[in-house]
């Protein structure tokens, strides 16, 4: 019965899947068929060879999965397939030096302390995540046992491409032995003991003896397991290691200690011998100054090949990195999730300091999610935004990564004889908004996107005086206009207002003119929905109907989050109550940096259909309940106030609620409807259609197939940032929404997360003009900010941002954020550090 059901379901799924699941690799089949053994010439692209040949416009000839030749004037062999890539950029396939791609969920947390693990045993070649990683140009990843074990075992470099077996995926195995110091032990004493154990173990092996246990005791396996029970994958790790040692036997895991009469070869010894013979490098994860120092000392003392992994707070040990030109793997440049404790107090300048110290450094995502490796370009862009040279960042994800991983003879650069792992971008490789045109591994096209049109954006340096004068003209080659396009323009700013703006304007002669050249000028950006880090003040779930609450009443415009938002270029914020109630309250328009930050305290009403507003302690606790609740609220009934307040107060509250709800239902104030899943979005559409009001979907995750209903109901969308575990589908949906002419705005809690959402939507096919409008005028309009907000018009307040590049280019940073011509406040910034 089970088998029948499975079989039938699968058959059915296949039919259904082929019909309505989006196949992102439309062009893949045809391209892959044609080039199995044939010769391909990739012609006309700007080629970053990452070798002494440098960068030039030319051609690459690929044959039998290898690069045959590369150069400016390469003759296409007879009968070769020629692909024209004029205007595109071609790089070696990118390499993520620390990933969990291809690993089974259990193997991602698998750690050991006796070196017995080989990560290849945790690889599942049938996982599908690689598609999304591949389409961002990543062609190789390094995987190894988890860092919760002090001496886990062998790591490997894997291909990002199709494979029917583990063997198909291996670029190189046994490339390093994973070790970690200072991850599990938090105190200096713990770390000193750990360092001591490593020293003793290496000394013992050097002397031909069996090494003591690296995990911190000399008894048996059972204790070993206890050592390893931190973090996820609990309880399975010791098991895997036992299995490797052949000790599991019929007694299972628990019997390992007492019943293990069989003597097993000592893997720790075997591996340390290989390390001492320099046959395999030790990849030692070390973050704190003392362990980094100890790692170098160990390497000196026992003369092995060391790769330092992590290096989060190296302190003075950074000078050692420079002195030795040490091999270092670092990352992420930007924490997209919660940072582990050892990364929490990293210096903002860490990456640029490391990049200046050693040329031999690689950048990795360190994502705990398999799909996270697709963020490698975002991480490289973030590194550049934090001060790393663009050239150095590109080397760190290509040739230097390959060298550190010991696979530089196969991948990481473009030269005859190298494996044909290539990535072609419609723009700069490290501008994540630039779509990927094509990705090839071993000569096989694994991703192709013929729609990717060249999008050349650059990053320029900006020089402006510390304090701007009262009147000035600012001129640029790239000023964002109301249509979302960049055009040469100049702007005459006087007494906080824009006196004139246009291609050429006339201004008094004594007014200073600042020509910022290629720098980009945009209006102060719009974050359509944010809590500005004040969630705790905005949470109140005692009453499902909180229509009377106003976010404006608790604004703290000088909070650190608000300050970072402003420094990141976002001036206009839709400040909102949190989502804990179905009727959450009223949103305010906040203009950060202004003396009076609250521009309007009632721009939109917020209502919640997502699960955040379900509470077991009050109605509603279910989606159906939420819909019924909101339906009755919009329909005119006022839920009874159950707060214990005097009657007159209760009546006042009810009046306030009524007027706020009426303002939405009949008064034209937009309703911001928080809805994530498809049924929630459906419910939002249903309510909008029934009451015929203006509404905006906040953070929908699933709108596929619903776009025509959404645009039919005249709704717009506020996109929320996505995380490592979200599918690209999310960004594709935003692109799809844009195609259906649904206005899209952006929101989030950090400037970079908001810009990343917009950038990745552009990467997925949203026109950059649409994204830029969403970050400015459209963003302001959908949540009901006053007319003219986030537009540079004659007579409007001079709120603008001077960027080193487009806000969609994550490499770019705001060089200057100007609020009301700086009459109210002066802002300067040079780096992004959120």
């Amino acid at each position: 019965m089970r088998a029948l059901r499975l079989a039938t379901t699968r058959g059915l799924c296949a039919i259904l899947a082929s019909l309505f699941v989006i196949v992102p690799l439309c062009g893949l089949a045809s391209a892959a068929d044609t080039n199995a053994a044939a010769t391909i010439v990739l012609q006309g692209a700007t080629i970053h060879t990452m070798t002494e040949q440098g960068t030039f416009v030319g051609s690459v000839v690929v044959e039998n999965g290898k690069i045959k030749s590369v150069g400016e004037n390469v003759q296409a062999p007879e009968g070769a397939t020629v692909i024209d890539l004029t205007g595109h950029t071609l790089t070696p396939g990118l390499i993520d030096s620390r990933s969990v791609l291809w690993l089974t969920a259990a193997a991602r947390g698998e750690a050991g302390s006796r070196g017995a693990l080989n990560i290849l045993d945790g690889v599942n070649p049938f996982l599908e995540d690689w598609h999304e990683v591949s389409r961002q140009g990543v062609t190789s990843v390094y995987v190894q046992p988890s860092n919760t074990g002090v001496f886990g075992g062998r790591g490997a470099v894997l291909r990002v491409g199709p494979g029917s077996s583990v063997k198909d995926l291996v670029v190189a195995n046994d490339v390093a032995v994973q070790a970690a110091m200072g991850i599990t032990g938090d105190t200096v004493r713990d770390r000193a003991a750990q360092i001591q154990r490593f020293r003793r173990a290496f000394q013992a092996v050097k002397d031909g003896e069996d090494p003591p246990n690296l995990a911190g005791n000399n008894n048996n396996n059972n204790n070993n397991q206890q050592q390893n029970t931190q973090g996820f994958g609990r309880g399975r790790r010791g098991g895997a290691e036992d299995l490797q040692q052949g000790r599991r036997g019929r007694f299972g895991r628990g019997g390992g200690g007492r019943g293990a009469a069989v003597t097993q070869p000592n893997k720790t010894k075997e591996l340390i011998e290989l390390i001492l013979d320099r046959k395999i490098p030790l990849r030692l994860e070390a973050h704190q100054e003392d362990v980094v120092q100890a790692a170098f000392e160990l390497a000196d003392e026992f003369e092995f090949d060391l790769i330092v992994d992590g290096l989060s707070s190296p302190g003075e040990a950074l000078s050692e990195v420079a002195a030795r030109q040490a091999r270092v793997v670092v990352g992420p440049a930007w924490e997209t999730g919660a940072a582990p404790s050892y990364r929490q107090d990293r210096d903002d300048q860490l990456l640029s300091n490391i990049a200046e110290s050693t040329n031999r450094w690689a950048l990795a995502t360190y994502s705990p999610e398999a799909r996270g490796s697709r963020m490698l370009r975002v991480q490289a862009a973030a590194a550049i935004a934090s001060g790393v040279e663009a050239e150095s960042a590109l080397r760190a994800v290509t040739v230097e990564a390959a060298r550190i991983l010991g696979v530089a003879d196969q991948v990481g650069s473009i030269a005859p004889g190298m494996q044909a792992d290539l990535a072609i971008f419609a723009g700069d490789p490290l501008d994540p908004a630039a779509s990927t045109r094509m990705v090839m591994t071993r000569g096989e096209v694994v991703y192709e996107n013929a729609d990717a049109s060249p999008n050349n954006t650059g990053v320029a340096a900006v020089e402006l005086p510390e304090v701007m004068p009262l009147a000035y003209v600012i001129r640029t080659q790239r000023m964002l206009n109301a249509n979302g396009e960049m055009q040469p323009a100049e702007m005459f700013v006087q007494n906080g207002l824009i006196s004139a703006i246009g291609r050429t304007i006339s201004a008094p002669e004594d007014v200073p003119v600042f020509d910022v050249g290629d720098a980009v000028i945009t209006p102060g950006l719009v974050n359509a929905h944010s809590y500005l880090g004040q969630q705790s003040m905005l949470n109140d779930d005692t009453e499902a109907d909180s229509s009377q609450l106003r976010a404006a009443d608790v604004i703290e415009a000088s909070s650190p989050v608000a300050k970072k938002m402003l420094e990141g270029g976002f001036v206009n914020v839709g400040f909102a109550p949190t989502s804990v109630n179905p009727s959450a309250g009223v949103m305010a328009h906040v203009r950060l940096g202004a003396k009076k930050p609250v521009v309007a305290n009632d721009i939109a009403g917020k209502f919640v259909l997502s699960s955040d507003a379900r509470s077991n302690d009050r109605l509603p606790s279910s989606l159906v309940g939420q819909v019924i609740f909101l339906d009755s609220l919009f329909g005119g009934s006022t839920p009874v106030t159950r707060l214990y307040v005097p009657d007159p107060v209760a009546r006042a509250i009810e009046r306030e609620r009524r007027s706020n709800v009426d303002a939405v239902v009949t008064g034209g104030r937009p309703a911001v409807l928080a809805a994530e899943t498809a049924p929630e979005v459906q419910a939002a559409i249903t309510l909008t259609s029934k009451y015929d009001f203006t509404s905006v979907l906040l953070g929908p995750e699933r709108i596929q197939g619903l776009t025509s209903d959404i645009s039919g109901a005249g709704m717009s969308i506020i996109a929320r940032p996505f995380d490592d575990n979200d599918y690209d589908l999310y960004c594709e949906q935003l692109a799809e929404a844009a195609q259906a002419r649904i206005p899209v705005a952006f929101s989030g809690e950090t400037p970079r997360a908001i810009r990343m959402t917009a950038a990745m939507a552009v990467n997925a096919g949203m026109p950059s003009e649409v994204a830029l409008r969403g970050l400015t005028a459209v963003g302001a309009d959908v949540v009901g900010m006053p007319a003219g907000t986030a537009r540079l018009n004659e007579g409007s307040v001079a709120d603008f941002v001077v960027w080193t590049g487009s806000p969609l280019d994550l490499r770019a940073v705001p060089a200057r954020v100007v609020v009301q011509s700086e009459l109210e406040t002066v802002r300067t910034s040079g780096r992004i550090t959120d």
Partner: protein, 390 residues
Amino acid sequence: MNTTSVLRVCVAFGLLCVACVAPAAAESTLYKAGTVYTMTGEPLSPGQVLVTDGKIAAVGRTVNAPADATVVDLGEDSSLLPGFVDAYTQTGLAGGTDEFTAELTPDFCPALAIDWNDRGFEESLATGTTTLAICPGTENVIAGCSCLAKTTGEKDSRILQNDAALFISVCSDPARRNGARSRPDGLYNRLPTNRMGVVWILRSTFDKVRRGREVTARDEIESGLSGQRPLMAVARTSHDITALLTIGEEFDFAPPVIVGGQETYKVTEQVAAAGLSVILGPMTTGSSNGPERTELAYNQAGLLSEAGITFAFSGGNLLEQARFACRFGLEPNEALQAITKTPAELIGVSDRVGTIAPGMDADLVAVDGDPMEFTSGIRFVMVNGQVFEQ
């Protein structure tokens, strides 16, 4: 509260389009099978079914088909059955199956929050189920109204009825969450805290309805009690079933349908005498105890059949449940009735599904061989004339 108009809009918008593999409109297809189980009389062996425009145009031993009709011969051993009807499921109901913060939620309509892309619909379809009653959960004394829908289909044709049967819970489920609290710990702590409380709330609510007092969603409750819409009562143990019979007598409402009914076999005489029908919860060979520690009998379906009680199977894998019941003593024909015609009648859609007759929706299941044989596989499932092959 006015949910009906919300629901109407919900049908117009909201629903996601599913695969469309149907032949172009106005085309007819003639299916020839070894046996056609029409469920309206004796099986036709051999039999033919003519499908036109998503409806059954004709059925018989031989059928006069239009000259341009496509003919599909399924072979001598094959069987054609009506699409199965699952009379009690929560497939696709998103964001919570109950609004358990209130005791009475007669206006709880699953149709407001169904994820039409839920994998459960595909699984149901793959096992031959074409019509589902998506029902509210059991944590409220008066739980809400079910939504009747096809397992697949296009926007407007998918929902058959938004607010079908009214559900009440005569079991300890509504008290479960509350009983766990030692004392009221919130503003909204609710009743009941035990099973007696469940019956007390039912009784007091029905009393209010009878005396014209104010109650939540009176229309839904009244129409359920008067028989305008089916009344379904989740009751599993024999004492819950007798409690239901007692309340029924007291308030003289239309005979409800017992849902779950794991111990109905112990009180067959009373149930038969009161004219109640039963939607049996999923049959299982697992443990000897069902939900709420009910004592299960492998032949419960056979015992109900002997006592002359109308019953249907529910809860997924309907063909397997029917086969299982046959192994323990139920007549094959009765077993097939219990997954097609009977559930369609109980949930109130027998005018559209549950039998193979002219004018009915073309919802069919084609089986390779005798449907009651364990080894017979499902070849395809048809919904509104669209074929989903295995």
